[in-house]
């Protein structure tokens, strides 16, 4: 249909025939249709199509529909539930009651899930506690490793309680054996109760002071009096903000209690926490390994001095000695560190000044701050764009790979559904 240079669009003729135009528009079109043969033909065509469609008749609605709806009306008014239809209504028109029920059920489900997860965590914690307690207990040796553990505690005893020569000898004998030595183990067992466990103590103190400088001087004095030292110390003195001090102090374990008492006098204590880590087992294990390594070294030395052989064999033994020596030195350092941790307790001190804010004139003018804000804003935008681009570069290949895997089956399912949709 050629609509070019035609004053009335064909759609308007159709709207006129459907009675969709205002009276004035309808009159104008009516006049036009009378004169224009093309539009008259179009109107005729529309009438023809409508007439054809009217031949598509539908049978009378069966009485069963009426009966069914009447029955439903009766049930509805009597408040009875309507079986199958309910399913549909739930799907399309959820009432607030159904929403509430659904949300409630979901919340309860999630709560149960979280509670279950929480109880699992607790069980883990209890298990861990039990393990720690077992490790800490100095019971009778049950296995080879336990025997070493007990022996280790005796070594500890040598460090803590000095002047027990006979006891030391027996300990060395026990360690010298390759396996657990029953007669000595019995002797060891009887001595266990005497030994104190090795505990590395840590105290955390948070305090607020009014006079920062005086508190700091006092801290130095306390350290000197209690024979301690500061392993690490940070002092912050920012402008317009409270000054603060973080320090990691080492105090001899014997003087810890009195030193902590002194430190509490630095200011108002906000938080205090004490903990002790039992390292007896760790220490014992270390000592046993050290002993073994030393013996190995001695045997190697003996091989080197007593036997003669090829140059390459000698070199190999030399290398082995060097390796064992290295191990021994590492373990000795570790042992010293462990013992030091036991002898010197750690005090983590956080000291903050009680600060009174002072009225300070703003450092930057409004225009400067505005400028800075704009610059920061632009920077944020550019960083975000960069982050998005980087994300796509980083995750893009993975996403493409996943799409390549999942898209074809999904597409097949979707195409199948669409084909079915077209046929129903």
């Amino acid at each position: 249909m050629n609509t070019s240079a035609h004053p009335v669009a064909p759609e308007e003729v159709m709207a006129f025939l459907d009675g969709e135009l205002s009276i004035t528009e309808a009159e104008a079109i009516s006049e036009h249709v009378k004169r224009c043969s093309e539009c008259a033909g179009l109107a005729e065509q529309f009438h023809g199509t409508s007439a054809s469609l009217s031949r598509w008749s539908v049978p009378i609605a069966p009485g069963i529909v009426e009966d069914a709806v009447e029955e439903l009306t009766g049930k509805e008014s009597s408040g009875e539930k309507i079986g199958k239809a309910n399913i549909f209504i739930r799907a399309s028109f959820w009432s607030w009651k159904q929403w509430t029920l659904w949300i409630g059920a979901t919340t309860v489900g999630l709560a149960v899930l979280f509670a279950a997860a929480g109880s699992l965590d607790n069980r883990d914690a209890v298990h861990r506690d039990r393990l720690v307690r077992n490790v800490g207990r100095a019971g009778a040796p049950q296995s080879e490793s336990d025997a070493y553990g007990t022996v280790g505690k005796l070594e500890t005893g040598r460090n803590v309680i000095s002047g027990q020569a006979g006891f030391n000898t027996s300990t060395e004998f026990a360690v010298g054996g390759t396996g657990p030595a029953p007669p000595v183990a019995g002797k060891v067992d009887s001595l266990v109760s005497v030994q104190a466990p090795m505990i590395a103590r840590t105290v955390t103190l948070t305090a607020v002071t009014k006079d920062f400088a005086a508190s700091r001087a006092l801290l130095e004095a306390i350290l000197a009096r209690r024979h301690g030292y500061a392993a690490q110390m940070n002092v912050n003195t920012p402008e317009n903000a409270p000054r603060s001090l973080q320090a990691s102090l080492r105090i001899p374990t014997a003087e810890l209690a009195s030193a902590v008492g002194d430190l509490k006098a630095l200011g108002r204590v906000e938080n205090e926490a004490q903990s002790g880590e039992e390292v007896s087992q760790q220490h014992a294990d270390l000592v046993a390994r050290l002993k073994n390594s030393r013996e190995t070294e001695q045997r190697l030395q003996a091989i080197l001095t007593q036997r003669t052989g090829k140059m390459s064999d000698v070199l190999e033994v030399e290398q082995e000695i060097a390796r064992v020596r290295g191990e021994i030195e590492g373990m000795e350092a570790e042992q010293k560190n462990l013992e030091h941790r036991v002898d010197f307790a750690t005090v983590n001190l956080q000291l903050t000044e009680e600060y009174k804010a002072q009225l300070v004139a703003p450092t930057a003018s409004v225009s400067t701050r505005m400028h800075n804000a704009i610059v920061a804003g632009l920077q944020n935008v550019s960083e975000m764009v960069l982050a998005i681009v980087l994300f796509f570069f980083e995750e893009g290949p993975t996403m493409l790979f996943l799409l390549a895997i999942f898209l074809p089956p999904l597409w097949i399912v979707w195409a199948r559904y669409r084909r079915a949709m077209a046929t129903v």
């Binding site: 064909p10 459907d18 969709e20 054809s52 008749s57 609605a61 079915a420 949709m421």
Partner: protein
């Protein structure tokens, strides 16, 4: 004294209430008003579904579902649109849900819809040709045409039912009518318009 109520009854019968008035009465609890609405729209709504569903049994079921939805949703009815528009909008929603269910069953469960009657169930052969021609139209075009020709909805009402802009309704209707004319004129020929609008299937 006794004659006065009878007169009013007769008057009421003589000047029937509008659909909207009946619906308002039903919302207030009058089951008789619902009965009246049902008898008015039973046949048109059955026709609406019969022309769109695969068989008469489905059409019956969907008609029932629609009236039931009206019944249950009466408290949420707002008299801002014509009752007719409201009814067909609900009917359309129910039809779509039914189509989705049927398509799902067909696609994934392999259940072929149970056609209790053959496609050639109307006596007139001309009716069959018309149905075949209409089936070849695009989904939206077909719906617009059927709503206009059989349900006799205005353009604005069709726009509300199908949630389309008014101008789209007009242009779709024009396209559908022209295409149908072409299809009926040359039934064995190609169907260019149907292919053109095949992609629109949300209706």
């Amino acid at each position: 004294m006794n004659e006065t109520p009878r007169k009013t009854e007769k008057e009421a019968q003589a000047s029937p209430l509008s659909d909207e008035q009946l619906m308002a009465a039903f919302v207030k609890g009058s089951h008789a008003a619902f009965g009246e609405l049902f008898s008015r729209y039973k046949q048109p709504l059955f026709g609406f579904f019969r022309r769109r569903a695969a068989d008469a049994a489905h059409a019956e079921e969907l008609t029932q579902e629609t009236f039931l939805a009206i019944l249950r949703g009466a408290s949420r009815y707002e008299a801002c649109a014509l009752f007719r528009t409201y009814l067909y909008a609900i009917g359309f929603k129910i039809l779509r849900a039914h189509r989705r269910r049927a398509a799902f069953r067909l696609a994934f469960l392999g259940k072929v819809p149970d056609y209790r009657e053959a496609a050639v169930q109307d006596a007139a052969e001309a009716g069959l040709l018309i149905r075949q021609a209409v089936a070849k139209l695009g989904a939206i075009d077909r719906e617009v045409l059927l709503l206009r020709e059989f349900e006799e909805l205005s353009y604005a009402e069709i726009a509300v039912v199908l949630r389309l802009p008014l101008n789209t309704v007009r242009s779709r209707l024009f396209r559908a009518r022209t295409a149908l004319h072409d299809l009926l004129a040359a039934p064995a020929g190609k169907q260019p318009v149907a292919e053109l609008t095949e992609s629109e299937e949300h209706v």
